[in-house]
Symmetry: none
Subunit: 249 residues, 2 copies
Amino acid sequence: MLKAERQKYIMTKLIEDQKVVTTDLALALDLSEDTIRRDLNELDSKKLLEKVYGGAVQVSRKSTDVFDIYISAEEEKKQIVTKALSLLRDDQVIIMSGGSTNLVFAKLIPANLKATIYTYSLPIAMQLSQHPNIDLIFIGGKMQKNAMVTIGMDVIQVVSKIKADICFIGASSINVKQGLTEIGYEISIVKKAMIEASDKVVSMFSSDKLNTKMPHSVCDLSQLDTIVTNLDPQDARLEEYKKAGVLVL
Amino acid sequence: MLKAERQKYIMTKLIEDQKVVTTDLALALDLSEDTIRRDLNELDSKKLLEKVYGGAVQVSRKSTDVFDIYISAEEEKKQIVTKALSLLRDDQVIIMSGGSTNLVFAKLIPANLKATIYTYSLPIAMQLSQHPNIDLIFIGGKMQKNAMVTIGMDVIQVVSKIKADICFIGASSINVKQGLTEIGYEISIVKKAMIEASDKVVSMFSSDKLNTKMPHSVCDLSQLDTIVTNLDPQDARLEEYKKAGVLVL
DNA sequence: CAAAATAATGCAGTTGTATGCAATAAATAA
DNA sequence: TTATTTATTGCATACAACTGCATTATTTTG
């Protein structure tokens, strides 16, 4: 039995019984108590449980943040979205797609901004529901569960009736020739509708998305007004995008 | 045997067994462990699996709980909703209102249940998006931000078109004369629509809601099929409800 | 087609990790 | 308090993983 497997077992048992006992685990897994203790210490230091004399108990939930989604390279994303905050104005109507970059953006929207935001992403809606001055409208439909966004015709229908000032689109892939492309067909058509519905189109992404390609086209560069990346706008890698008429922040 | 073929085999085995062991794979594929390790490293860097000491395991589905909402008296609520799990069947169409009791219910729905669930509560949708076998449909509209639910005509319109087998309604207040009542007008009409749309109506709440009253009527007792509380069904406080024809769990 | 470049594989030596055991320390229970 | 249980520490052993290198396929190029 692998160590990782064993620790998973311990976590499962912990959730079932609310606690685990060192000696019981050693018996059940046919291992020395020392090993179990080492596992418990490890899991404890990862804050996945709390070690106590004789075993371990569940970790008491924190309460500062409403939810707990892992965001890779969060610092980098903060830098990106901070640049985009300058695009926000009071009384705008905004559409936001899903994606962790947009989620970071939602977290950083200043508390005094008054605006109307449409979104179809659950985490973003959760985040924005904490904001005191934003009118929030969730676009319903069938959920794509892993991404926690709604998709399909219901979404398209609602989006196509919005008259938005600006939309913020997450990007899976972008390159000069094909523009924005997506891995999923359904997401691609939703994003097309977002672009149709908005006066201004902004996309935020990190530089590793540059010059990559996915199967389903969203739009070409001419339809993007602004892109925001972690690179300096003067960076050579962005040269071609600027030539195509896109504003680079 | 091609490398690609081999890696496919590894991925298949990983899904079957939840894990793979380096030495076993080397034996089964008649290759050195080094080669297997190189494969595992490759697949790891593609994030298709997670390499661990001795082998590899499946990529950890984000932490079990995606978010972190404080639920008062969670243990009591667990006891209530556990009783209600017996009402669930495969292939049902279900509508769920918001509320922390329903959220606890959502957490405890067995992983093997296959059903379609409509909801207009963000936390419940987040929770259910973790469920492997549920078709989830979110009912969009304007968000009532403190409660994290959508409300208004958009919601009513969608709900009134659903043909549901069963709905689970959280209760603010219930008493024998007025039935279910709510503090907010908008929520009350959404719940009315839910009841219209469902063959069977279930409400779960703790006993402190019994014999209390709010301004806006939802329905009277005759429209409720089942109520689920923390009390023993034989408890005297539930006598009148049973006389009114409600099934008490 | 042959030659060259590239990739894949296995091997040996080294490094790192996991585990159990024994001795000792700390915490709990009587 | 003492006795008992549980934890910690250092150490030895076994095994897994990594490194660099040689060998063999495979692909690319002239």
